[in-house]
């Protein structure tokens, strides 16, 4: 059973739309594709295709050329020095590619390949110039920064293990710093191009340090003098490290082995974080917005004054899952969560402009689905939820993406919003009506074949790629579809953003067989998916549908009891 794509990210270099790359993670792997011509480019980690090529010819083509190149880069790139607690330690410093090349027998190969696989990717982020990709793996709390080459290869530049499981990563407006919001409620900053310091000893001290990391006095950010384009060669990396040693003489004694800083914290699980610059009386001011499970959206000043809280956007009645500030309207914020509504805010004064209930469009969709003869009954619900009753029809907003759109017939430049919800096989399309200061529902695209998992806007090609759950039935987050249904499904779909007869923005199914086929074949060929990530495993469900677990169960009092 192929694993669906749980995260999508579109990266393109300005003015090079035809070379725009879709970065898509499926389980622990990150694959890259050229969106324009729909060709497969590469896979990270690169070892896996080679591992498979001995028995499967199809993969030889899949990894051809790519593997060799990646291998050379991997020689240069820093070796991951420390493995997470969860996976067994790697027994040598070589990459998995080398292990395979060393000529293990079939069994030995598998045994040694498995540990090299990291846990599933839970978040992807990228720089606006398309040069860098950031991937977060949850179970090992690791943030990896990659250089994305023009040919789609991902070259790992760093691997940093955070003290707590990251829930969201985002780049600051100047793109020099990463903000990481975690499960423990803290937001840390780390330089995008930062590295781990040497030497790293996984001693008892270190472990203790990980727990205390956020409590330490903040360290000064290290600003590498080498540019991002030069640091993947061995010589530069060594120079960078030497320089770093001198600049941070005490850094090695610190417990977290990389530069980081605690910016702010909530006493709640953080669900999203975003940054924005707005001009105020001709000065640019930076802000950080952070959202949590307890219905708060906090507005703090940007670095270096993130300890100053400017305000809150209060109004959600359930956990918040997504924050989105449209670049064309930086004063506006669109948020969504477990209360089944899209909120439009003037975030600076913390005022709600609009609350748009999504229950009606979702109900309409279900009704439409029910009318379709061959499809599954729309009433098949999450069984666990059905037991507890009240959750039956609740859903959570899982994606809010914005796109620009201009009419080709009339003079109109607008912002569109694409929304998806957990366990719902549809895309909801909205536009920002700037004059009225409101959001307008333009259309619902669905029911699609499967529940929408992630959405990426391919701005420079006027398209949207969405990934779908190939495993569970549409409208269900628990019922596994039959093998037959699974086989017939496509893991992704593509929409074109166009205009209708009345010159309003709309979307249309876009036939892009090359990309769809390439992406389908890619997951078919994925050689190794850890046992717990198969359809029956709870972890696949947690990976695809993690939001619903944020809902408060109400019920009895926890931890406070009469003695």
């Amino acid at each position: 059973m192929p694993h669906p794509y749980q995260c999508l990210l579109y990266c393109s270099r300005p003015g090079q739309a035809e070379a725009g790359i879709l970065v898509a993670s499926s389980g622990p792997y990150i694959h890259t594709f050229n969106v324009h011509n729909g060709t497969y480019l590469s896979t990270w980690p690169s070892g896996q295709e080679t591992g498979k090529s001995s028995k499967d010819d199809a993969t030889a083509e899949l990894g051809s050329g790519v593997t060799a190149e990646t291998e050379t880069h991997q020689e240069d790139s820093q070796r991951p020095r420390k493995r997470q607690k969860l996976s067994p330690p790697r027994d040598d410093s070589g990459s998995s590619t080398e292990i395979v090349v060393n000529g293990e027998d079939e069994d030995g190969q598998n045994r040694r390949l498995k540990p090299a696989i990291s846990p599933p990717v839970i978040k992807l982020a990228g720089t606006s110039n398309g040069h860098h990709v950031v991937a977060v793996t949850g179970e090992d709390k690791c943030i990896r920064v990659f250089e994305l080459l023009e040919d789609g290869c991902l070259i790992q530049l760093s691997e940093r293990v955070m003290p707590k499981r990251p829930c969201a990563v985002v780049l600051t407006p100047d793109e020099s710093t990463l903000l990481c919001a975690d499960k423990f409620g803290d937001v840390h900053s780390l330089p995008l191009m930062g590295q781990t310091h040497e030497p790293i000893l996984c001693s008892a001290d270190d472990k203790q340090g990980l727990e205390n990391g956020s409590k330490e006095p903040p360290q000064r950010d290290f600003v590498p003098s080498a540019s991002s384009l030069t640091v993947h060669t061995k010589g530069n990396r060594e120079a960078l490290r030497q320089q770093q040693k001198i600049k941070n003489p005490k850094a090695e004694k610190k417990s977290l082995n990389f530069d980081h800083q605690l910016l702010l914290g909530h006493v709640s699980l953080l669900t999203d974080v975003t940054c924005v610059s707005i001009s105020s009386s001709n000065k640019m001011r930076n802000y950080i917005l952070s959202s949590d499970r307890d219905e708060h959206i906090r507005v703090s000043r940007g670095i270096p004054q993130a300890h100053i809280i400017e305000g809150y956007c209060l109004g959600h009645t359930e956990f918040i899952s997504k924050l989105c500030i449209p670049p064309a309207h930086p004063h506006l914020l669109i948020s969504g969560g477990g209360d089944e509504s899209l909120f439009l805010w003037d975030w600076h004064p913390g005022k709600i402009r609009q609350k748009l209930d999504l229950r009606r469009p979702v109900e309409d969709l279900k009704r439409r689905h029910g009318l379709e003869p061959a499809s599954a009954k729309p009433t098949i619900r999450d069984q666990e939820a059905a037991v507890s009753g009240d959750l039956e029809d609740k859903f959570a907003i899982s994606n809010i993406r914005v796109h620009d759109w201009s009419s080709s017939k009339v003079n109109k430049l607008e912002t569109g919003i694409i929304v998806s919800c957990e366990g719902i096989p549809a895309l909801f399309h909205f536009r920002i009506d700037t004059e009225a200061g409101k959001i307008e529902h333009m259309g619902t695209y669905g029911p699609l074949e499967g529940n929408v998992i992630d959405v990426a806007v391919i701005q420079d090609q006027g398209a949207v790629v969405y990934s779908m759950d190939t495993v569970h039935e549409a409208f269900s987050t628990t019922t596994v579809a039959t093998d037959q249904v699974q086989k017939e499904r496509f893991p992704i779909g593509v929409m074109k953003i166009t205009e209708n007869a009345r010159s309003n923005m709309c979307m249309q199914q876009h036939q892009h067989p090359q990309l769809i086929t390439a992406m389908e074949q890619c997951i078919q060929r994925q050689s190794f998916i850890p046992e717990n990530l198969t359809a029956k495993g709870k972890s696949m469900r947690d990976l695809l549908y993690g939001l619903e677990s944020l809902r408060k169960r109400g019920g009895e009092e926890q931890n406070v009891r009469d003695d």
Binding site: F184, G185, D186, Q208, E211, N212, K215, P217, P218, Q219, R220, D221, Q261, L262, L264, G265, H266, V267, S268, K283, R285, D294, E295, H296, R298, S300, R301, I303, P304, Q305, H307, I308, I309, G311, Y312, L314, G315, H316, T317, K552, R553, G554, G555, E556, E557, Q558, N559, V560, R561, D562, D563
Partner: protein
Amino acid sequence: MPPPTKRQKREQYRQTHQTNPSTSLPKKKFYRQRAHANPFSDHQLTYPTIPSQMDWSPHYPAFINPNATTSPKPLTKPITIADIGCGFGGLLVALAPLLPSSLLLGLEIRTQVTEYVQDRISALRAQHAPPPLPPPISTSSLPSPDRSASASSSPPLVGLYQNISVLRTNTMKFLPNFFSRHQLSHIFLCFPDPHFKTRKHKARIVSETLCAEYAYVLRPGGYVFTITDVEELGMWMGERFGGFGKRGDGGGEERGLFERVEVPEEGEEGVWEREGGERAEVGMLVRCVREETEEGKKVGRNGGRKFVGVWRRREDPAWPGE
């Protein structure tokens, strides 16, 4: 029928005490509860989504404008003093008559402890009810908007203990749901649970990140009072407030957001109180946190030491480069 359990007896006691508000003070032993509540878990809490949606009328009935047309009816003056983790309410009760023109709120996470404070306040209010109002002079007197204003400006008519109340919440999560930006003039953090283990430091009610929330609800010039009998915790709180906003990242401020305020030695409070000005106020409040809090009394009885810290909030720093 088996004899009622301790627990049933407590429940029954509390129920009768609440349904028949009396002037007799509640007995603590019927409100016992585990010492610690986990600040990270979801308790069954009710809280307004935004401060303006909070209905304060059950809390401060004497300070609600009865003629207001908005719902919920707003307070005639904002709450400006918060006792965070107020426990059994000793400090509130002591401050009520000393600060008659301020509204004080105790916030406590433990249900039964909160109920105890509620019952205690009801009893005190009943004991100190103002004399019945003289009959109206003429039937034509209109309900003028002045009535509530005069009620609040002449405390004797209001009766004692009308200016204090308590509510159950987790202040580590929900402070901004109750208080708006810069609303408070004083925050008290008295004898907070120490959470000794390093791993549990995030459970402490004073932390680097929570200082940001205290700074948000506190107005510039407002005060934070901390007291503990655990020296290490006293230093920790001092470092958190003293170091807050003093960041080594280049752009940070030379001085932090909280400025340490000198406090009287134990026993010197009375001298300060007679001096007038800020010293009188600080002297009076420090005496109260030392002597009127339940924990302060306990520590005093056992001859323990008390570590006090007082902080004044500065103005927010200028934006970088402005």
